[in-house]
């Protein structure tokens, strides 16, 4: 497994023009499989946006973009948990149902038992972590995660009916619970938060550059990321502030993404996570506690599922026996994969959750906006998913031709 190498497409038929262009191409494939993995995703996203905007200019209004962000938040938070599980080379099918159960438990505690909201939220998160903890025990004993979480999903379907009251629904409208999704951060505050985040980003970037003592000008290695991140941060805040403001769920999502990005990208925990996904035996031999890393990943998924469920419940103003059902699970997995996380483990970043959810959410939103039938939505989402995995396979294999290793 570890000995096979990705052959750069050398002077092979059809892979590339056989002249000097080949190292360039192999370098490009190398870059796309590594640091610049999100560029094709961004291109696809841009294409989708341009297409829908050309069909209906209402697509890129701040009102519709606010709606879009609220639509994708649940998928993105759940996808973030799925990313952690995919990175260690496992899969999960139960987290969407788990999000429904956690949201229901929180609703029961907050509304029926009238506990303070934060205690109820902690209760919901505890349920999520506990259930996932039980699943991961079976997984580290060697039962394939596909089977464990498939069984877990079925159990959770039953569990949802147990925790729901006899009328199979709890209305949360008008309670503090519903305020999670209907709170908007005033533009002044969101600007201040964005500016603080941007300054911290630029400062760390500059410090890393100075530490290297390479003597080169900081213009390109610091300036370009600073410019790009500044445009993204202040651009999105400006667009959202034109509407009702920055929705609290988006802030929760961004906060979770930043924490996840820090831990996966900058700490030894992150390196070990990728190592376990890349070559489990090598990780074991290097003294990395493989089982513990798998457990951590699933526990992160448990927290993400609980948060996603609560955000969704407060957005839909109710929990019911359909909470966590529908296409949520498949959308979350698809988002992670479309965003560039490999199903084979060890490749991709946490930002894939956001990018993939944006791609899938934009398709759904645009199709509804154009008044097209839901079939089109299914066809487009499915097509994009297959295309994304095909790209993933080509990139990890390093060639367009089949059977070249």
């Amino acid at each position: 497994m570890s000995t096979q190498q990705i052959q750069p497409p050398t002077a092979a038929p059809a892979a590339a023009p056989a002249e000097a262009g080949t190292p360039m191409l192999s370098r490009m494939v190398e870059g796309l499989s590594g640091r610049y993995r999100s560029i094709p995703v961004l291109l696809v996203l841009a294409l989708i946006w341009v297409y829908f905007y050309s069909q209906n200019s209402a697509f890129l209004t701040s009102g519709n973009i606010t709606t879009l962000t609220l639509q994708i938040v649940t998928t993105a938070i759940l996808a973030l948990g799925v990313v952690f599980v995919l990175l260690v080379g496992e899969i999960d099918l139960s987290s969407a149902m788990l999000s429904g159960v956690c949201a229901t438990v929180t609703a029961q505690l907050a509304i029926k038992s009238e506990w303070p909201l934060w205690v109820a939220i902690l209760g919901g998160v505890a349920v999520g972590v506990a259930f996932v903890g039980a699943e991961v025990l079976a997984i580290i004993f060697g039962v394939p995660s596909l089977i464990v979480t498939l069984g877990g999903m079925v159990i959770l379907q039953g569990l949802l009916l147990v925790v729901l009251p006899p009328e199979f629904a709890i209305n949360v409208a008008g309670t503090d619970y519903a305020k999670i999704s209907s709170t908007y951060i005033p533009s002044g505050w969101s600007l201040a938060l964005g500016a603080a985040g941007w300054l911290i980003f630029c400062a760390t970037r500059y410090r890393t550059h100075r530490e290297r003592e390479s003597g080169t000008s900081p213009l390109v290695p610091v300036g370009v990321p600073a410019l790009v991140s500044g445009v993204v941060i202040f651009g999105s805040i400006a667009v959202l502030s034109e509407g009702p403001g920055l929705p609290l769920p988006v802030l929760i999502l961004v906060g979770m993404l930043l924490i996840a990005a820090y831990f996966t990208g900058r700490t030894r925990y992150g390196t070990h996570l990728y190592a376990v996904g890349g070559n489990r035996e090598a990780a074991q031999r290097a003294g990395i506690p493989v089982s513990r890393m798998v457990i951590y990943s699933f526990l992160v998924l448990g927290v993400c599922a609980a948060v996603a469920g609560m955000v969704e419940a407060s957005r839909l103003l109710a929990v019911s026996n359909s909470s966590g059902g529908g296409p949520l699970m498949l959308n979350a997995i698809a988002a992670a994969v479309v965003g560039g996380v490999s199903l084979f483990g060890g490749r991709g970043t946490v930002w894939a959750a956001l990018l993939g959810a944006l791609v899938i959410g934009s398709i759904n939103n645009g199709v509804q906006l154009l008044g097209l039938s839901t079939e089109v939505q299914s066809f487009a989402t499915g097509g994009v998913l297959i295309l994304a995995v095909a790209i993933d396979v080509v990139i990890t294999r390093g060639s367009l031709l089949p059977n070249r290793r």
């Binding site: 570890s2 900058r266 700490t267 030894r268 996904g277 031999r285 290097a286 060890g346």
Partner: protein, 259 residues
């Protein structure tokens, strides 16, 4: 024979069974500082099992392992590492999705404070990685490329450099010259001698008897799970080795080589 230095590793009467299969049978082995010991034998002779026992991957069913005179139980690879034993496996054990620096420091990253979530000190790791790679003349286009895209020689170089990061007193090399070109093979043999010059103990598994004769101070021959012969540098010929490996002189059951 000249006792080179402090006794690093001593195995006595180590046996290992896989079900009914006898993989190791009462093997004794000693290794001193500044000494290169080669482990040779045919396929299935138990060399790999012995390496696994010493590197903490497998546990012996009976017998004792002593490191620097103290009896130890090498329950995990990490335990072996903290006892100062580092293994370079034949399949290199690299993570193809990680870059050279991360592979070099895998499991022993240089990190910052606990309060900030133990961030890795990428810069310090890169500086050290460059030093180690340069000292063995391993040329890499970039330290940030995933190692899956590198050549076999470069990957071998990274795998061996990894042994030096943790500054181990004993290095186990499993078939280090297999599948290498002529120049790279010479480099690896040079590295083995360099490890020896640094006063470490080196245990090499090899199929290549020419390599063995070139670098080894002692040669231990295994056959069917047992140690059948041990030769000091210079007091054996290639045919002695081959005879011991194949068991050609086994009829008298006391080959000349055993002392």
């Amino acid at each position: 024979m000249p006792e080179a230095g402090e006794l690093l590793l001593q195995l006595s009467q180590v046996s290992k069974y896989f079900g009914g299969v006898r993989a190791l049978h009462e093997v004794d082995l000693e290794l001193h500082r500044g000494e290169v010991v080669a482990l040779v034998g045919d396929n299935g002779a138990g060399k790999s099992t012995l390496i696994k026992v010493i590197s903490g991957v497998e546990h012996p069913d009976s017998g004792t392992i002593q490191v620097r005179g103290e009896s130890v139980r090498l329950e995990t690879p990490r335990a072996a590492q903290s006892a100062g034993i580092h293994t370079v496996h034949q399949d290199l054990s690299l993570c193809d999705n990680l870059d050279a620096v991360r592979n070099l420091f895998l499991g022993q990253e240089i990190t910052g404070g606990l309060l900030r979530g133990r961030p890795v000190s990428r810069h310090r790791m890169e500086v050290e990685a460059r030093q180690v790679l340069d000292s063995l003349a391993v040329k890499l286009r970039s330290l940030t490329t995933p190692v899956g895209g590198l050549s076999g020689g470069q990957r071998q170089g990274i795998a061996i450099c990894r042994a030096l990061i943790s500054d181990p007193s004993l290095v186990l090399l499993d078939e280090p010259t297999a599948a290498l070109g002529v120049t790279q093979r010479a480099e690896v043999l040079d590295l083995i001698l360099r490890l020896k010059a640094q006063d470490r103990g080196v245990l090499v598994i090899s199929h290549d008897l020419k390599d063995v004769q070139e670098v080894a101070d002692r040669v231990v021959v295994m056959r069917l799970g047992s140690k059948v012969a041990e030769f000091g540098r210079g007091d054996y010929s290639s045919s002695d080795l081959i005879a011991a490996i194949t068991g050609a002189h086994e009829a008298p059951r006391t080959p000349e080589g055993i002392r």
